[in-house]
Symmetry: C2
């Protein structure tokens, strides 16, 4: 039933980071193994071990059918104990699996606890893959010691590869910043290419730093960073059962903890973490299932950000708009129609929009300066910005998305992800 | 730029009515002509003339960028005068066309008024086709006398053909009922195959009857019938700028008017009108762009109908669910995930669903009786029913939709509709 994505599939203007560009983070070790969760030969189980005293916070899917590992993750984080490990499998989502699914997750956390010498509740579990299939729990438990034996600080690239499903490339990023006179490092990995939508999607992202961020600050920063990165992307409007973004701080840098928002070291750390999250989020859209175009939607002049966001999502989720981007066809009435469908009480006569620098619509109608050849020129590009001005306020929102191609249908009709 | 739909495209289990199955309605005459609105040789302009004293009511798109003809239709109906004609063009939506678009519509209504000897405000105008292009108004005005010269009571089939855009087949239906000792007749035509969504879509539907329904009753019946037919279908979740459903009563039957809801003649008339509307609505889904499967979604056990409707639309609009139907792949976790994404505060552990008669999920997890071979057998069919039980109330909702295929992408990437 499972087939690979089309051999010619490749992301839009995204080259994976070279392994040597991915920086070790003090207090973080990564190990992978092949648990043969599907009929893959590659590694599909990832263990991320965190030094004693590490803290983590996360944001998770809003899908009511959240997967068993998401339920357990939330419970473990609510204990507010130090977090010592993340364990992630690809190939099976462990969602819609009822009581057995929960029991399996507890077994995995227990096995990781034994392997690393910590409590089971200090382990955060994650899964991605097909829904409503039981985990091959024996093979997974057997693979945990193998993950442990391969733990290393320089294995971010292998980590990114182990969590891929329909992804065509691994996604990882690093930054180093100087703050308070010391170098602080942060690295992260993510996976996802379909089911990417309104509030996270089968999107898993893990970012760790040696900056000594306190747990209360992590709790604040995680949703703030998600709102600027993973929640600003959409591929197909579907939100998965397993979405998770976790930010971990190992306190590996031998400096005093960062506990207050007015700590001058926070701004560079926060900016670098946000940069990593945006890079990973955009990489997910660039590797969106079947994507051939990367589209930046900016909606401005709204009464509030929620209204701008609704308009951006209405454009991003319109199959007619998405297929027009795929076809490089400046069928721009479809964008106008999608704006009108956003459910906002807009005054159409105040709406304008641009394709890159080309003014297309002004006062709700086609701009007299607009020429189809200009529209065609922009639509033929692989990176396109659509800017919409609603003309009724100061708010704005940005959303990154991709087109809808034959590749999307092929991947999702042929591949049980 | 424009190409025809793929030559092998055909609707799912829908055979157009033979011309002789379409019944003349006393007081209704139909005429078509070729205005060459696009580079078509076929007739693309339809005039429906109604006898003096006819009444009509309509429901229209909720898209904020409604087309110029929709604006004028609403104005003309608000005059509450007798309606004497409908004029419909295919190939150009006259949407996003500003002041010129409105002036063009008034010119067309004026020309029809001259041709038929009625006031311009007694004419209801409609358009379907590409957005943001000016109408070829001279050619359209020149074609109106040709429409008038061809007016005939038996031209329902030609009428259905003249309003097609990406439709692969004409859509028309008739019923005859006996009420109050006389035969009453009703016939209708519709077009649409994409942009079919939450609250009508580029869906045009015109149903006329010789039953002497009063205008107040028409005003009540039109939204009631739409709620059971055209608002129960979705192809791609897009709502067009031009959606219109109009119900006209010519009073051609020489019987006393039907003015009250307790008139015993109303029930059979209303049922027959609803049957026509459901037949046309389902024909639109069966001819949905690229459709290979006809899916009936029934969501029951909700707290209210709106909640059931949200769950049904979440399933119907999930590209992952739609591509799984296309692939005949019982990847049923995608349905579970779509239910969880509906935005309702469901208790997942009370949710069950069936594919036809096969119980798939019970208490939020896979049914122990479920076998993949049963799922595959149902998914391979061209007509599939999904029944979801939410387990928290008595409300229910039905929605008809189709799958998402390569054909959809081809049609919308290649064809500027």
């Amino acid at each position: 039933m499972r087939r690979s994505p089309p051999a010619d599939a490749m992301p839009v203007n995204y080259t994976p980071r070279q392994p040597e560009e991915l920086l070790p983070v003090r207090g973080v070790a990564l190990g992978t193994a092949a648990a043969r969760i599907k009929n893959w030969s590659r590694d599909d189980l990832l263990l991320i071990a965190l030094a004693a005293g590490s803290e983590a916070a996360g944001v998770f899917t809003r899908n009511r059918f959240c997967a068993a590992p998401v339920t357990v993750c939330r419970e473990h984080l609510a204990r507010r104990d130090s977090v010592r490990a993340l364990v992630i499998n690809a190939g099976n989502a462990n969602a819609g699996t009822g009581a057995k699914g929960l029991a399996d997750v507890h077994a995995i956390c227990g096995a990781v606890g034994v392997a690393l010498g910590c409590e089971a509740h200090q382990v955060l579990p994650f899964s991605t893959g097909v829904i409503m299939e039981p985990l091959p729990i024996e093979r997974m438990l057997a693979a945990i010691p193998a993950c442990r034996s391969k733990l290393g600080a320089d294995r971010w690239d292998a980590a990114a590869r182990a969590i891929m499903t329909t992804d065509t490339v691994p996604k990882a990023a690093s930054r180093r910043v100087r703050a308070g006179g010391v170098d602080l490092t942060m690295s992260g990995v993510a996976k996802g290419s379909g089911m990417i939508a309104p509030n996270l999607a089968t999107l898993l992202a893990f970012v760790a730093t040696d900056a000594p961020l306190s747990r209360p600050l992590l709790d604040e920063l995680t949703p703030e960073i998600a709102a600027q990165s993973f929640n600003r992307i959409t591929v197909d409007g579907d939100t998965s059962t397993n979405d998770s973004f976790v930010l971990a701080a190992t306190h590996g840098a031998a400096v005093p903890p960062i506990e207050r928002r007015d700590d001058p070291r926070l701004a560079p750390v926060r900016d670098a973490l946000t940069e990593i999250a945006v890079e990973l989020a955009q990489a997910i859209v660039r590797d969106g299932e079947g994507a051939t175009k990367f589209i930046t939607l900016v909606v401005e002049g709204g009464r509030d950000a929620a209204e701008c966001d609704r308009v951006a999502r209405s454009i991003a989720h319109s199959p007619l708009v998405k297929t027009a981007f795929f076809a490089s066809d400046p069928n721009l009435g479809r964008i106008l129609s999608a704006i009108g469908n956003a459910g906002a009480d807009l005054d159409p006569l105040r709406v304008s929009f641009w394709l890159d620098e080309v003014l297309v619509v002004v006062d709700g109608g086609r701009a007299s300066s607009y020429r189809e050849e200009d529209g065609k020129r922009v639509m033929a590009k692989s990176e396109i910005a659509v800017r919409v001005a609603l003309g009724r306020g100061e708010a704005r929102a940005t959303l990154w998305t991709c087109d809808l191609s034959h590749g999307y249908v092929s991947i999702n009709a042929d591949y049980r992800s």
